[in-house]
């Protein structure tokens, strides 16, 4: 995925200053994540899983 423009725009939209030297590394990390997502995309049954969550039993019990 081409992320060159996404990084500065995405950060700017959130009010995060863009530090130019960081951009290639952020792009690299996003590309790594995209590559790691390929096996998930090839196994769509994973989307049927209930996501693991931090259950907060005290809140559920007493609130």
């Amino acid at each position: 995925m081409e992320t060159a423009h996404i990084v500065p725009q995405g950060l700017a939209l959130q009010g995060i200053s863009v530090i130019r030297e960081d951009i290639p590394y952020i792009q690299q990390l996003l590309n790594t994540i995209q590559e790691l997502q390929i096996p998930i995309d090839l196994n769509p049954e994973i989307h049927e899983e209930v996501p693991l969550v931090v259950v907060d039993p005290e809140v559920i019990q007493f609130d």
Binding site: I6, V7, G10, L11, Q14, G15, I16, S17, I19, E21, D22, Y25, I26, Q28, L29, L30, T32, I33, L36, Q37, P39, I40, I46, H47, E49, V50, P51, L52, V53, V54, D56, E58, V59
Partner: protein, 455 residues
Amino acid sequence: MTAHELAPLIETKQLSPVELMENMMSRVNQVEQEVNAYITILEEQALEQARHAEAEIMNGLYKGALHGIPIGIKDNYYTKGVRTTSGSKFFQDLTPDYTATVVKKLLCAGGIMTGKLNMHEFGGGLTNTNPFYGDVRNPWDLERTPGGSSGGSSAALAAGLSTLATGTDTFGSIRVPAALTGTYGLKPTYGLVSGYGVAPLAWSMDHPGPMARSVTDLALMLNHMVGYDHDDPGSIKAPSANYLKNLSKGVKGVKVGVPNFYLNNLDPEVKDAFQTAMSTFEQLGAEVKDISIPELNLSTYAGYLVTIGEGSGYHYSRLRNQPEDFASDVRIFFNTGTLTTTPQYVMAQQVRRALTDAFKKAFEDVDVIASPMTPYPAPRFQDHWVEQNLEIINDFMPFTAPAATTGIPSLAVPMGLSSNGLPLGLQLMSNHLTEKLLLQVGSAFENNSLASNPF
């Protein structure tokens, strides 16, 4: 010496806690300048506490095996009245008004805090480069990383600057530094050790845990660190256990599974040492078998998404208002988290459930799963330290993320030295809340492998 070796000497008054602390501080003053394991050294306070411990022991009030033992505390554990920086410029002046539950427990048991240990900023890296407090250096070779983020803890243990230490592990921060310095580290089951008063990296994967110079010392520390804590929403109500109890039970009949996933792209010396370790287990009566867990190749994705997603959430206002005050590598890590999506985060949590189920299934056939802890020994610090941290995270995450994302316990023990004298680490993992078994297996390896204890 280990705490287990020191304790009987203290109990029988053959060794004074004051003498012990004076020697420890003398060593700190000799070596610390080179290693940089500490952000804050508490020499006067530690000596005062040692005098207090000595008076208690002389009056017959011996508290147990931690009484008078020096313990270094990673600088993301809050300590009342003592600066707690989390390795960050942001918290350079933070002096908490309360103490983390775990630190309270260790100090109540008689442990003496030697100081606050250096770390990778906010736990966001595995090299322990730190532009604000200085890089921690590996005592085995000062030009190399001690691993991170609990690099101050591992370096202090390896250099004899503390007897015990605390660490935290979100995607390897206890186990990687233990492996790269020839020390021992345990990432316990998620929620077994309270995270109250420990600065978060990623709440749902943060694991406080013990680091030490032997498996016995890990068990000793764990005995005093566990327990339900209503102040920590992730804390679990687990049955109490004495983790020291089965350490000498051996591994006869224990089934050790080796997923083929972990045997790719290894440094040849790591591969050889790992095969030797598995042969050692077989000689000790364990059954070593190859297993397959196909879901392992999803764990790095989940490790990244959860760490950078939750981490960027915690630091969001700092990222927006003072980005230049972060170390560059950590800012890159968290800023990436602001650009990943909600569906990706949810998919990561779905992967975590699938991976947990896969581990549960594997543990129907084997008791323990073994792998190298890192694919290569401690690398030299590079000038391009930002890139180096990201590279090492990428290389080590497949080994560290599975136990981190599923919350199963994982133990790092030394498994020998490379030809150039650098420690290599073995990882042992087991089912949730089976730390006793894990420590038993680790102890059998430690006591029967010439490679296990490099000191």
